[in-house]
Subunit: 360 residues, 4 copies
């Protein structure tokens, strides 16, 4: 009997069992998928591939999964399953999408390969696209924005972690007409080291990255493309590495053209999220944790959003916090898959997080 | 379909629903109890008390439980329940044990008040005992050592976190006769800041405690009493604060009187734990995580144990790692309650942990 | 023979020795003063006061100063000295300024009590002022802005740490006319736990503050007052606690009315700081550390500033990083005192920092 | 006027200026050497070599040295200097020792290549030795043990960081006859990530290494060789990675054959270290920092040592803490060079450390 009610809509297939595989299971996002699918009531985890670790046990790479018998297989040997989750680096899914479809009816992709709607975007922000014919059918995974389009989708594309945090923070203001896209919008984002992925790098070493506030991609971050696509407005985005492992926190500073009241803001955020099982509205209040914080959602599929009105300069500060590997990647993918496949919306995503927790 | 099989024995009452309350729910251990009980299939969480936060929402204290409607009630108003979990500071349970029994048939205590078997121990290590007549019926909670005594127990006493880590590491060596208690045994333990509890202190402030290796209680730690009780041998114990929030890691250095082989050690540890659902044997192997580590079990009820033989000086180094708030406190209590009440042994304890994770 | 040349102007009194005392020596800023003055070639540290620790050794509070014979004295017993440094909480200096002047010719205050120029500002941002007659003679300590006014000043008021980081980042843009105060200017600041001071608090405990990205004072931060005073423009300021002990990093997002080039920006920053001994211009380049970072200046009196131009949205992102306790407080005070007293400008401030360093 | 008196003996050459170069200046130890030599009153830093970064500025690798004009040169172009400091990986110095001597009269080596006295030790613990004819003339750098042998030495070999911490903790007990080498001695050492060096590795990445208590080299650590050499006794050594960047803390558990009193211990430690400028005896007392801690010595050349007697089990627990890159490597080298060359013993080593400081 959960004290926190995370139930969402229950679909027609809530009692089904579907086979699933994870392509690219040795990275951080892949590991999260394995953890979530292993505990999911509707998925039967049939396999996990890794080029680098083929033949090795999943637990030797992801120590939280020590004890399982599952071993990584070679990505060349894809068995047929109902659902294929791909957690491969950017560029792989667009190359292998035909193979993925041969192996599975439903493909859920965690890379950037199918997030954007048009080939033109990929030419502007990435190095073009190898399979543009699939872009039309791909659905951006965030159920908060695309719940109607997800059911029955064959190709689901999980959003980027920083984009997810930023979009969820700003979306209510656009929905409520408080912003219309002509304003200057600053998104100042703070991110954990797991965003850098599982590969070793000098900048990502413990000695160099501990205790940092390190600007990276202060301008021109690729996630601007999907933020603009989803919100219909351009955002001035800057990211900073800070000392945590998991988490992305977006602070958006916006200056609406028309004066806005606290009541307007509460209406906007409640209107957008009151029915959402994985968004918590957190603005002020008492105690140590008064605004959205990555720590409060670490390990979970929750996003926290909140705001504060600065009357002197007609600014609204919007806060948004997620676990980049869960709500920002693997949890978002599972959530979207649940909706796409007609399962209970919250299935497999019931972990409530920990308190206290350090660098989440 | 969990890839990690955590199933333990299933008791006769696996389908029952029992009402439960948490006395002292605002501390770190109490918060973990609330989290675990809220997700437990057999417990109906009826209430949580807090002197300091009576009337406030549970989520205002434990941000991971934001969204719940549960509010703390005054400890003076204890409703009748099937099971009462007490997470109060040392000395409270021994004073209120009669009230606890009036409210519930089964009492599970997380303090030190009923861990030791005799009044003499409390006189030696604490300030005596107010209710020594209950000491006989209390069962030390570790199922790995007391699985036979737990079923039907009215009073279950969760072990101390540091003691739990140390006991689980050394127990196989005593069971196998490799140690008999005459040897010099050093337990050098590293612990996270959550062991200090939720109260503010100068030594526990972020600025003073970050990045520390700080000896505390280098001699005379009270957990020595329960270690000696459970193992039948005295241990030279020293604790150090290190920079993590959750976790206790014990490194025990022992010098058996007789030469011992790696095979002997594997036999000892496998014999002790092969059937245990919450103990993972982790010794060597490949990858980044080769020995027991708190990070690998953060948030979970697992203990990891491992060893290495130092042939040159006839030393065995034993490693043991737990999450101090789960396996070291609240998870151990739920595990023991499951066994005591005839529920499925692993019910409510299926979280597999996260990878990567920072300071757990 | 320092490889890093930190020499600044040498004043007429470079060979003098002056007696100095620290009022309020047990806090973090006071401890930094003691460290800096103890190693300063021109100051003879005559005493340090602390209400709470009177009679105790300085090293029992500041472990880096273990070994010294100096003990805290009662603040009621102020000896006469040449220079009095006050590191007391806000409100104390304005009450005791007459006593300070009785004890010393020159007073350097590290609190907020004399930073603002007018009583009206104190009424708007604080709780008014007890000694407004001294506001006129107080000089804001930043030599980069007030080098001409400092020599001979009797009362020097060190700026706030967050204000210092923000002001130093934006100042060149105002000096060069790139900004004129009509623009929307966002200052998103990330700060370490030492800003919270040495007192214990629940929010500041290691378990609650580790790994955070925690908004605090997202609007209405008092440092806005001095930023506006020094720059002549209002800034939309928001602060976030992140996981470091020392450090303040300001990211300012500005949108100049007229298009601006990289050359314009380099000119502005070089023009402002090329002669400054304690400002390093750091924009891009190779290696792990390409922009200003608190880690790169931890323990030192340096500020690092840098910028990046975002052509798409006509935004300039300005970065600024300092050690909040040195350049943001105690080092700034010593630097200003050097200038005020005609000493060598960089005397006592030659520590070059460490690499690598963790949470600085 | 330093409040902490760090003066040591002043040699005959205290007013000389000597030219110095650093071979292998891009690693962590090399960077510390550059920092220390740049601020040293007697050394004129003539160059720094790096194979990987030849031609690049020193500040692009060591951000604390940003602003200097010094660039790395190719190690093939060694200029003649008075003193050559080598901070190259193990095995390089023994190959190039003849070149080093050609370039300089005095060689100070920070690697393991000349620490051990005999070729047999190198065959047992390493892969043999290429230049065993130099082993006789090399002096182990710790002045606390070798002050008499250092003056005039041509070849000085800095000790290993973990060995340094362990040796300094145990040395007084051997000197005082409390231990004679027949006892079982456990050294349980906790180390920071900078010990792993500047190269990138998966295990050393921030996401994997944050918050760890990770056993490494639990048996058979090579530093056992030099500990045994310096103390004349075998030690059971185990190292653990913990979450700090700088620091090594050794906790030694020893069981003297004869009963020992607190007075005996104080006599032993005072006798060994009372005259030592860089050893602080810290045992108990009040405040947050009561025992040796790496944080209290971070960035400095101090070692802190302390002890506690456990009467029940006749154990003495000895604590020792250093900054692994300073007292454990580069500072020790400079200290030994000062003694070897007849300079003031403490020259260039006067940094007192910071408070508060995070992961040092």
């Amino acid at each position: 009997m959960p004290i926190v009610d995370a139930d969402g809509a229950t679909g027609a297939n809530a009692d089904e069992t579907l086979s699933a595989t994870v392509v690219g299971g040795s990275g951080f996002a892949g590991g999260e998928l394995l953890r979530l699918l292993a505990g999911h009531p509707n998925f039967d985890l049939a396999g996990a591939t890794s080029r680098e670790y083929a033949g090795k046990s999943v637990g030797s790479v992801h120590p939280n999964l020590r004890g399982t018998d599952l071993r990584f297989s070679d990505p060349a040997d894809l068995d047929s399953v109902d659902v294929l989750f791909a957690a491969t680096p950017h560029g792989v899914s667009m190359e292998q999408i035909d193979d993925f479809y041969e192996a599975a009816d439903t493909v859920v992709d965690l890379s950037a390969d199918f997030r954007l709607n048009t080939e033109a975007q990929y030419e502007e922000w990435y190095d073009g696209h190898d399979a543009p014919e699939y872009l039309d059918e791909a659905v951006y995974a965030l159920p908060e924005l695309h719940r109607e389009e997800l059911p029955g989708a064959d190709l689901v594309a999980a959003g980027g972690c920083n984009a997810t945090a930023t979009i969820l923070g700003l979306y209510p203001l656009f929905e409520a007409g408080i912003l219309d896209g002509d304003e200057q919008i600053v998104a100042d984002v703070k991110v954990g080291s797991s965003e850098g992925g599982a590969s070793a790098s000098k900048a990502g070493s413990h000695a160099e990255r501990s205790g940092v506030v390190r600007p990276y991609a202060p301008t021109g971050h690729r996630h601007e493309a999907e933020i603009e696509q989803e919100l219909g407005a351009s955002v001035s985005f800057s990211a900073h590495a800070v000392d945590m492992v998991r988490g992305a926190a977006a602070t958006c500073h916006v200056f609406p053209d028309e004066p806005v009241s606290n009541g307007d803001l509460w209406s906007a955020f409640r209107g957008a999220y009151d029915e959402e099982p994985f968004v918590r509205l957190q603005s002020g209040g008492s105690g140590v944790y008064r605004y959205p914080e990555p720590k409060a959602v670490a390990g979970t599929n929750y996003a926290e959003v909140g705001f504060e009105l600065d009357p002197g300069n007609e600014r609204v500060v919007v806060f948004s916090a997620i676990d980049n590997l869960v709500k920002g990647t693997a949890g978002q993918a599972v959530h979207a898959a649940n909706v796409a496949l007609g399962l209970e919306e919250t299935a497999g995503l019931d972990f409530q997080g920990l308190h206290p927790v350090g660098s989440p």
